[in-house]
Structure formats: C-alpha cells, structure tokens
C-alpha cells in the first residue's frame, strides 16, 4: 500500500473505541424505575432474556469489522457501524417506547411493577449507546460521496459544538430527578424525573433528534443543516423550558399555598438538575436563534491539519485512546 493511500484512510482506533463504548453502554442502565418507597431499580439489556446473547452477537460483528478494517478500512468500519447501530437503535427504541408509553399512560405495568406507584425514565446507558453509535455512523457516512464534499477537513463549525454540550446535558438531566416529594414518616418518597412527566417522552424524542442533527451539522458543514437543527432545537428547548418552569412553579405552589399539603406528601424539594435544565434550556433557545445569523454559522475552529498535529500525534487516535481509557475505567470502577 502506498503512503498516499494510507494517509487518506481514517484511523482505526477511534471507531474501535466508539464500538466498545456502545457495547459498554449496553451493560449500563437503560431503564430506571423509582418506586415511591424510595428504591431505585435499574435494568439493562443483559437483564432481558436473551440479552447476553444479543451483546455477544453484536461483539462478534464488531470483531469481524475490526479484522476486515485492518485490510479494508471503510468496509470494516461499515460492518462495525451497522452492528453497533443495531444496539443503538435497540436502546433508543426501548427507551422511547417505554418512556412515551409511560408518559402518556402512567398506570402501565413494567417488570412486574405497577408504575402508578413508581416513576420510569431512561438510564445513562441509552445516552452512551446512542451517542457513540451515531458518532461512528457519521464517521462512516462522511467518507462517502457526496457527503465527503460537504464534510469539513481542517476546520469544524463552532456552533454545533457549543450547542451540543448543553443539549446533551439537558438530555441527561431529563433522566434525572427534578422534584422530590417526601412524607413525615419517611417511608414514602417520590422522585419525579424530567422524562417521567406527562407527555415528556415525545420531548425526549425531540431532544434526541436535535442531538443527532447537531452531530450531523458537525459532519455536514452547510448553513441549511445548521438552520434546520436550530429550528428544531429552538422548539424543543422552549418546550423543555416550559416543563421545567411548570415543575418549578408547581412545586413552589404546593409548598407555599397548601398548608396541610397534599395527601401524605408533606415536603417538596427541587433538585439541582431542575435548575440546570431551566438555565440550559433558556441558553440553548437563545443560541438557536443566534444560529440563524450567517456570521455565527460561519464561526469555525481551526484544527490545523486533518491528518495529524505538528507534534506527530493523530487527533483521532488521541480521542480514541481517551475514550478507551474511560471505557476501561468504567469497567474497573463499575
């Protein structure tokens, strides 16, 4: 293989690290059920009957992809991407179906638990699995024509990165507790997560779509993609802000206006995640409006060289190495 052919190929370490992250994500919590007794139960893919076999099958496909990728890089990456995309979609579909179903019909039974006496939300495994599989998919897609002609080489747009970080934090915070209702006897405690509120499953779906669109805007550097992502993000951010405001105002209203409190719930406390969402949703909505300004769309970060830094380090290898360290650390610490 000539040197010039080697240079044009994407490096293998980052795709492998992302594939391993997706597999790791399948063993992290996908569904979180918080009972009113204050207990929290987590379920991942391996808790489902046949779940371990699914993880083994996907790992086998990834292994084939890695071996093929040594000889034919793009083909190997495509095999890996298709394998982990299956896992990513399993996480996304299961999470979405359950949270949408629960957020519209709260008295459904899951894992033998009546959810009228508990709250249900997505776990951190869904976030890890979906984001890593989407990034790997975009890494493959950007090598193909005509996407490659729109993919940035030495500069990346700044706006997608600036907006992606708060949106991912909002998505994670939606799965976390916003409100804590307690009782005097301390035996009952209700933890209300953002995505367990009525109709919030669809909002989480919108959030995921906007995360994906901003990853897409990173890969396809065109104003049309940024405008589209800005439009959807603004809509979703405003809805999330309204949810957070209603929960904040509602929680305070219960606390201030009802002296005897409601039924057995005597204490109402707001969790820090609620204020994080309140602040970030407003910030994201504002930045989405700014994203329509051509000058803001043109803001770019210069990477210097797509191939390697002046120090001789490969950017993608550094990123891949860091991700691998995190994955290994999560196995060791988990």
């Amino acid at each position: 293989m000539s040197v010039s052919a080697e240079v044009r190929q994407p490096r293998l370490l980052l795709p492998v690290a992302l594939a391993l992250t997706v597999i790791r994500g399948s063993t992290l919590p996908w569904v979180k059920i918080r009972t009113f007794s204050g207990n929290e139960r987590n379920y991942d893919l391996t808790d489902v009957k046949g779940g371990v076999a699914i993880v083994v099958t996907i790992s086998f496909v990834v292994m084939i992809g890695v071996i093929v990728g040594i000889f034919k890089r793009l083909t190997g990456m495509t095999i890996m991407s298709l394998g982990v995309a299956a896992l990513g979609w399993m996480a996304a579909i299961s999470g979405m179906l359950l949270t949408i179903l629960y957020s519209l019909i709260p008295s459904v039974n899951v894992a033998g638990l009546d959810l009228a006496r508990a709250t249900l939300s997505q776990g951190s495994g869904v976030v890890v699995t979906v984001i890593a599989s989407l990034v790997l998919a975009f890494m493959v897609v950007r090598q193909l024509e005509p996407v490659s002609s729109y993919a940035p080489s030495t500069r990346i747009a700044a706006l997608p990165i600036i907006i992606l970080i708060p949106i991912v934090v909002i998505t994670i915070s939606m799965n976390a507790e916003w409100l804590r209702l307690g009782s005097d006897d301390a035996s009952a405690q209700a933890l209300i997560a953002g995505d367990s509120l009525y109709g919030s499953g669809l909002v989480v779906l919108g959030l995921w779509l906007s995360v994906g669109l901003w990853i897409g805007a990173l890969m396809i550097n065109r104003p049309l993609v940024i405008k589209f992502a800005c439009g959807l993000t603004f809509l979703v951010a405003v809805i999330v802000e309204m949810y957070a405001l209603l929960v904040w105002a509602g929680g305070n209203a219960i606390d201030w206006l009802v002296p005897a409190k409601l039924e057995r719930w005597t204490t109402v406390s707001m969790e820090p995640q609620l204020f994080i969402v309140l602040f970030l949703a407003g910030l994201v909505a504002m930045m989405s409006i700014l994203g329509f300004v051509p000058r803001i769309q043109r803001l770019q970060i210069n990477l210097g060289s797509r191939i390697r830094a002046s120090s001789g380090l490969w950017y993608s290898d550094v990123a891949g190495g860091l991700i691998l360290v995190f994955v290994l650390a999560s196995y060791v610490l988990g």
Binding site: L82, A86, S133, F138, L144, Y150, R222
Partner: protein, 87 residues
Amino acid sequence: MAGLLTYIAIFGMTAIWILGWMGLSVVVGSFFDLPLRTVSLVGATLGPLGFIVTIMLGILESSSTKTFEPVTVAIKVDDDPFGDVFR
C-alpha cells in the same frame, strides 16, 4: 426457549427498523439522484436522522451549481470524415 424468542423478536424488530428507514432513504435518495450506496448506508445507520440527512443532501445537491471540467477535443482542420467513401 423464552430467551431464544426474545432474541429473535428484538433482532427482528431492530432489523425491520433499520431496513424500513433504509428503504425510505433509498426512495427519497433516488428522487434526488443520490448514489445508492451512500443513501442506503445513511438510512441504515442513522435511521430517522438518516432520512432527514438524505433530504438535506438532496436539497444541497440539487441546489448547488455544477461545474464541469473543460474538455479539449483535438480536431484536425483538414480532416475529411467522408474521405474514405468518396476517394
């Protein structure tokens, strides 16, 4: 047995999801004359997002002004295409 059935059901559902979005992306991609390989991979790996990306790629491709390489054709001025016939 239950494990096997769940395995088949989950993979079946995921396969329908992936193939469904791939099919939709291929249909939209063919409308915009996008390469089949790209469109099917975009749809299969990115799902609903791939469908949106295909539409945006289609719009970008159809709105971009195409530039053509100038082609130089060497013509001999005294060349007679019917020379052989009327000789």
